[in-house]
Every structure is written in C-alpha cells, then in structure tokens.
C-alpha cells in the first residue's frame, strides 16, 4: 500500500481530516482519564474489609434515657445476652465502630511518646473478647483478648489500654523489618501499648481519600465503650440465617427495654448494605464515567462512519477509475482503511498530549493520581480498533463501486 497518494488525497480534505483527528484526540484524552477513574473506583469498592460480610449485621443502638457508665454496662450486657439467645445467632459483640462504616475513630500512632510526626493514623476499634471471633477476623499471630483484660469506658473517659491486636498492614508499617508481636507503640496514650495479636485484614472505619496512606491500618483495644448515648452491636449469624435474625433482633431488643432508639432508616444494616452505602459515591462515579465513555466512543464511531461515507460518495468516480485501471476490491478497501489509520494515528498523537494535559490539570486541581502509561496505550488501541471498525462498512461499500462509475459524470 502506498501512503503517498493517500496523503495527497487527504490534503484535499483538510477540514474533514482535521475534524476527525481532533475528535479522536479529544476522545482519547477523556477516555483514558475516565477509564483510569473507573478502575481506581472499582479497586476501592473491592477493598477487603477482613470480616465475614455474608453473615454479619450491625445495630446502631441509642438509649432513650440518660444512663451512668455502670447502668450502660449493665444494659449492654443484657442486650448482648438477648441477642445471643436469638435463633440463628452465632456470636455477638459491641464496639464503638465497625469496618467501612464510613467514619473512622482514629488515633495518631507514634513509636516514642515525644515523637513529633506520627508514624501512622490508625483506625481505633474498641472490642471485647468476642470481637475478633464475631467479626470473623483471621488471627495470624499471637492471641485474642481475655475477658478479664476488657475495661469499660464511659463517655469521654480515658482508659489507657496496655495491649492491642493490630492489623498486618499496621504491623508492617510500624515494624517493617521485624516481627511486631510483643513490641510497643503509643496511640496518643501516656503508656506504651503492647502488640499481643495480629489479624490478617481489618479495614478502617472510613473509606475516604485522606486516609489512603493508612489503608488497612487498624488496631483493636480491649475496651467496651459504655457510652450512655449508644453503641454498635455487631451480630454474626449462622450461614443462611441472616435475614431471619435481622428481623428478630430489633423486636427482641425493644421487648427487653423500650427506652432505646434504633433508627428505622439506618439503625439496622446487613454488612452487604454497609458496603453498598460506603462505596455509593465511588460506584456512582464509576457508572457515570462508564456511561460517558460509551457515549463518547459511540459518537466518535458515528462521526467516522458519517464522514467516511460522505467521502466515499464524493469519490465514486475516482474509485471507478481506479477499479477500471485494475485495482481490486481489496485495494480500495485497504485504501480507506489505511486512510483512517493515518488520520487516527495523527489524532492519537495529539490525544496522548491532551490526555496527560487533562490528567495534569485534574491532578493539580482535583487530586487525581498521575495517569499510568498503560491507560494511554490501552486507550490508543481501543480508538485504533474503533476507527478501523467504524470505517469498515463505508470502505466495504467503496470497494463495491463498479468500474463503470468511471464513465459516469460525478
């Protein structure tokens, strides 16, 4: 295939050529960045929580009366017994928070009490001796809490835990070169906290971008938050009994003590719902970007088809002449395919620059990460295929122009 005559012909269609190339360039720039955003969001949505999500549900319980710390402890223990007795319930625990709720309680972590810049900002879970077991966390080293280790903490009281179970991600961050078990750290506490156990994965309470440097870094301390305002009950059911237990739980709690509030909207959530809510905006963004990508690619394809069809119509006579002079169907076909390839390559060259330009802008103003080259390469391939696919039908039509056209007036 000779490229020279194609370029010569394109020079006579400067405007159309430039418009298609420009369209391809803009499409590449947007599609690359959109795909990158989609992929980032999907990766975020798939972050593991580390808990047995299929069999867990959470009750946000608030009291309708003012309780002292001691009264609150008694109510909580009574509630835990009530919940544990429900059919289908395997285990129950209480906590100040749970993974991927959307909001973290977190503490700065330092290795020495007077360290200035913190080593980590870890999620801070308060759990009793049932916490690890109920959530279905995988203890990979050390031991679980003993019941006698668990202290009660009233509203804004400060208890000073001496031991903690930490996530593997946190262990690696604090002690990159050695085994964390038995070592100490400080979590805005006056006294050192000893690591007694390590769990494989435990997600933070929040899923925000600010905490991305601390992803997966969580700690559990043996504390029961006896908050007079309320608490989270986390319930693990036997397989397949989640729905029934979720229906029974609030009824049983209300029957036991009416002076409580379980928000009808979000007081009772299965973990599937928790995950759905946590990543709602990420999923939305991924869907939105996908829609835009599809519309964009469809429009670009349609544009190529439209303009090439016009060119084919315009050049019927020339095609006829070429056919009459011995060009085969394939030659004509190849001519249009190559023409599109050349325009696409030109457009894509500009598009690569635009893609990084747009990314740079998004990076500076809206904190998007730097676009990896693979996305640009991927986008380039997609658009080349799209162009070739779009041009196929008009090119085929062109190849069917009979040689007799050469003798007809334009």
């Amino acid at each position: 295939m000779h490229i020279q005559p194609i370029l010569a012909a394109l020079r006579r269609h400067k405007a159309g050529t430039v418009l298609i190339a420009l369209q391809i360039a803009l499409t590449l720039a947007i599609v690359c960045n959109a795909l990158f955003i989609i992929n980032q969001r999907l990766a975020h949505i798939d972050e593991p929580s580390g808990v047995d999500e299929a069999n867990l549900f959470v009750i946000a319980n608030q009291w309708g009366e003012q309780y002292s710390t001691q009264e609150a402890v008694e109510r909580i223990e009574q509630d835990l017994v009530t919940l544990r007795q429900l059919p289908g319930v395997q285990d129950v625990t209480s906590s100040n928070n749970y993974p991927i709720r959307g909001i973290s309680n977190d503490n700065f972590i330092t290795m020495t009490p007077d360290q200035r810049a913190p080593t980590s900002d870890a999620a801070y879970y308060m759990g009793d001796a049932n916490f690890v077991r109920t959530l279905g966390l995988k203890l990979i080293a050390g031991r679980d809490f003993r019941p006698e280790e668990v202290q009660n903490q009233g509203l804004r009281q400060t208890v000073d835990p001496s031991v903690a179970i930490i996530s593997k991600a946190m262990a690696t961050k604090l002690f990159p070169n050695s085994d964390a078990l038995g070592k100490h750290f400080y979590a805005m506490t006056p006294n050192p906290i000893t690591v007694i156990g390590i769990v494989d994965v435990l997600h933070r309470g929040d899923v925000s971008t600010w905490s991305a440097p601390y992803i997966g870094e969580s700690m559990i301390v043996p504390v029961r938050p006896a908050d007079p305002y309320g608490i989270y009950y986390i319930v693990r059911t036997k397989p397949g009994q989640l729905a029934a237990a979720m229906r029974a739980a609030p009824k049983a709690l209300y029957a036991e003590n009416r002076m409580r509030m379980i928000d009808p909207k979000d007081g009772l959530l299965s973990f599937a719902q928790v995950r759905h809510r946590a990543f709602e905006s990420d999923r939305g963004m991924a869907i939105l970007m996908s829609i835009i990508c599809i519309v964009l690619l469809a429009i670009t394809a349609a544009g190529i088809i439209g303009l090439t069809s016009f060119w084919v119509g315009q050049r019927r006579r020339q095609i006829g002449v070429r056919r009459a002079l011995g060009a085969t169907h394939r030659d004509i076909m190849q001519y249009f395919m190559t023409e599109n390839l050349l325009i696409s390559l030109g457009g894509l060259a500009i598009g690569v620059v635009l893609a990084f330009g747009l990314n740079l802008w998004l990076h500076i103003h809206l904190e998007l990460k730097v676009l990896p080259l693979t996305y640009v390469l991927g986008g380039t391939v997609i658009l080349l295929l799209l162009g070739q696919g779009a041009v196929f039908a008009p090119a085929l039509r062109a190849s069917r122009v009979p040689p007799i056209e050469a003798t007809r007036p334009a």
Binding site: L19, L26, A29, E65, Q66, T158, V295, G303, F310
Partner: protein
C-alpha cells in the same frame, strides 16, 4: 426569507435522515450529559444564603501550634473548628455585630403521649444571635434573648417537622418539650429551613446532609446539663481529664463559630482583634507560637472546607469534554452534509444569491439541528436528573432538579453550540465556486 430557509433546511434534513438523526442524537447526548452534571454541580456549589454570604465570616485560631501540623495534606491553616476555651473567650469579647459558637447535639426527645418511643433528633446548641445572623425563618415565636443565654434558661427552638410530630403542627410556643429527660419551654418554631450546604456548621456536618436540625437550645445550657457533642472531635493530644468536662478543658476542637461583619472595615478590625487575642495568649504563655489566624467569608470558607465534592467537578469537566467532542463531531457531519450540496449552492450562487444568503441558509439549517438536539437533550436531561439519584449519593442527588432556568439553558447551549459548530462548514459552503459546480455537471 427566514421561512424559506427553514423550509429548505427541513427538506434538506429529510433528504438524509440517517445523517440528520446522527447529528441530533450527538447534540442531544452531548448537551444532556453536560446539563445533568451541571445541575448537580449547580446544586452543590450554590450559595446557601446569597443575600448575606458576604457578611458572614468564620474565624480560625491557631490553638494547636506546631503539634497540629505535619500530617498529610497539611497546608499550614489553623484548625477548622474551635476548642471550648477560645470559643468562650471570643463570645465573651463579643466584637462582631452578631456571633455564635455552636456545637452539634443529638439528644433524644420523648413525646408527651404515654407509650411512644423516644426519638433521636439532630440539633445545635447555639447562642441567641445565631437566629438573626443566619436569618432562620420563624413560623411561630422567635429565638431566645441574650438574658436567656446568660441565665442558661431551659428554652428551645424546634423545627416545623418536630413541631408536627410532637404538637400536630399547632402553635407550640410556651409548651414544654422533653429533651434528654429535661423539660424545655418552646420559644420558637422554625419554618422549613434546610440550607444546603448547612453553612453554619460545615466542619461537623460535612456540608450536605439529608437530615435537618430539629432542635436548638442555648449553648451554655447544653454545657450545664452535660449534653455531649456529636459530629467531629479532633485532638492534637489526649485530654488530660476524662468526660465532657475534660473535653472542655482540652485543646480538642469540636465547636463551630460564625460571626456577622457588615463591612470590610469591620472585617479588618475583627481580624486585628483575633491576632491581638492570639498575641495576648502568647504573652500569657498559653500559646508558644506567633498568631496564625484566618478570617474567611462564607464563600472562601466553603471553598477551604472542600464542600463541593471533587467528584462533582471531575464529572462536570468530563461532561464538558463530551460536549466538545459532540460539537467537533457535529461540525464534521455538517461539513459533509453542506459540501454534498455543492451543486445546489453553485446554482443558487449562479442565479445571483450573495454569500450572505448562503450563510443564512446553512446557519438556519444548523440552528434547526441544534434546536432538535436541544429538545432531545431536554428529554434526556430530565431522564438523567431522575437517574442521578440512582448513581450518586442521596444527599447530593436530591439537590439536583430541573427548573425553567436549566430548561432554557439546555436549549440555548444546544442551539448556540450547534451554530458555532456550523460556522466553518457554512463558511466552506459559501466559498463554493459556482462555475466549477456548473461545469462538472
């Protein structure tokens, strides 16, 4: 002549229905995508109190010193809320026209009727000047007085919604409401008031919320009865003492603060006062660092707090990109369409039509494509705004709506942009040489 051009345009468009449909679809989708994302953007970047936002300011004081800095994303700004000590000191000095410290509360309200469950409500503990400062609209009664604040009176302002729930919507001023087990006298009932974002307490509410505040009680009263704060509490160090009292003695931040300053001079004076206050704290040894304060007006404050989600901005930007591609596409298609009719143009020119007539004819045609695309875009925008609640979080999606302004904007954007896209093709059409066209026939 216009009627004739419209007739010509419609005939021409009918001749190639495929190409016409393609252009209309392109314009429709492009316009709809940008209008839907724009409607969301407009909703979240709107001014919640446009008549007054220039007079409302949020002061920030550096009470943490170097200890509070150095984390990721730190830009040297002082903390975005106040600790108790400084909030109370500023309230006592009372240097602004209006001012109020406020903190978020989530007490339980027990309905008077026996057998009803307690309900959990959101609210704020505020000072009396909060109401005139925010122009909170009253249905019955009014806010409380400065002396109520001083006497730590058990009074409350409740929302219309709570009034409906507790008193069936009747004028409940003077009646008693049970908040966290204590009796409060209702002094005012607000009309429906759900400013979005909730500008008076962005640091605790994050800006956009689906819930609205149901109760307001005097700040010092709430402190007296130990009504704990909800929302964010941020500490640079662990409080030395336990409990809510310990929080009040600590440098932890949990209080929002807003002032009304009516002129630039007043704002300047207030900023000087803040710096003077910080210097005084430095002299007394409480702060071991020089003043690092901010006094932002409401716009700058909402900006600094990133109230507009960056997702919204990214979406808008990408959608505008999509519109741009649609326009380039339409320009290409119009070019093809117009040049295909070189013969017709040649004939018209040969029998005396000036270039301006060709311009008019083809711009009318582009305009008709734009208008049709706009109508389609309008439909798609309607569908899109409806579908946005399925894609975006509720607190944001609920704010997007279709109104006359957006309707007109959709049509205008569609027509103007299509005509812009049609300028070059029209120019090319007008340059057609009549002689060539006639000769080749």
């Amino acid at each position: 002549m216009l009627g004739y051009y419209i007739d010509l345009a419609i005939r021409s468009l009918k001749r190639s229905p495929g190409l016409t449909l393609l252009m209309i679809l392109t314009v429709g989708f492009g316009v709809a995508a940008s209008m839907v994302t724009y409607s969301v953007f407009r909703a979240v970047s709107g001014d919640p109190i446009p008549w007054k936002s220039a007079q409302l300011y949020v002061p920030q004081i550096e009470m943490w010193g170097p200890k509070g800095h150095g984390g990721p994303g730190d830009n040297g700004d002082p903390p975005d809320a106040m600790d108790y000590t400084d909030a109370i000191a500023l309230m006592r000095d009372h240097r602004a026209r209006y001012q109020s410290a406020m903190y978020m509360i989530t007490p339980s309200v027990v309905p008077a009727e026996a057998g009803k469950h307690p309900i959990n409500v959101e609210g704020h503990a505020v000072f009396n000047e909060f109401f005139p400062m925010t122009d909170a609209p009253f249905k019955y009664g009014s806010g409380w007085s400065a002396s109520d604040d001083d006497q730590r009176a058990a009074v409350a302002v409740i929302s219309e919604k709570l009034n409906q729930k507790l008193f069936g919507g009747a004028n409940s001023v003077g009646k008693v409401v049970d908040i966290d087990g204590k009796d409060y006298r209702v002094v005012g009932v607000l009309n429906k008031w759900e400013p979005q974002p909730r500008f008076y307490d962005v640091s605790n509410t994050g800006g956009f919320t689906t819930n609205a505040d149901d109760v307001f009680i005097p700040f010092m009263r709430a402190i007296d009865v130990d009504m704990s704060n909800d929302g964010n509490t941020n500490c640079a160090e662990t409080p030395a003492q336990s409990g809510f009292k310990g929080l009040q003695l600590s440098s932890c931040i949990w209080i929002s603060y807003m002032v009304q300053l009516d002129s630039a001079a007043q704002a300047k004076a207030y900023k000087d006062y803040l710096d003077g206050y910080a210097r005084e704290q430095q002299r007394s040894g409480r702060f071991s660092w020089p003043p690092n304060n901010r006094l932002r007006d409401l716009h700058a404050w909402l900006d600094a707090e990133h109230v507009v989600p960056s997702d919204t901005e990214v979406s808008l930007l990408v959608a505008i990109g999509l519109l741009l591609v649609c326009l380039v596409n339409t320009a290409g298609l119009l070019l093809a369409k117009f040049l295909r009719r070189s013969n017709e143009i040649g004939v018209r020119r040969a029998i005396g039509a000036p270039r301006s007539a060709i311009y008019a004819q083809f711009l009318v045609e582009a305009g008709i494509v734009g208008l049709s695309g706009g109508v389609l875009g309008l439909l798609l925008t309607g569908v899109g705004i409806h579908g946005v609640s399925w894609v975006l979080p509720k607190d944001i999606a609920n704010l997007a709506h279709l109104d006359v302004q957006l309707l007109l904007l959709t049509l205008i954007v569609a027509v103007v942009s299509t005509m812009l896209a049609g300028i070059y093709p029209t120019y090319r059409a007008s340059r057609v040489q009549p002689a060539w066209q006639l000769k080749s026939n």
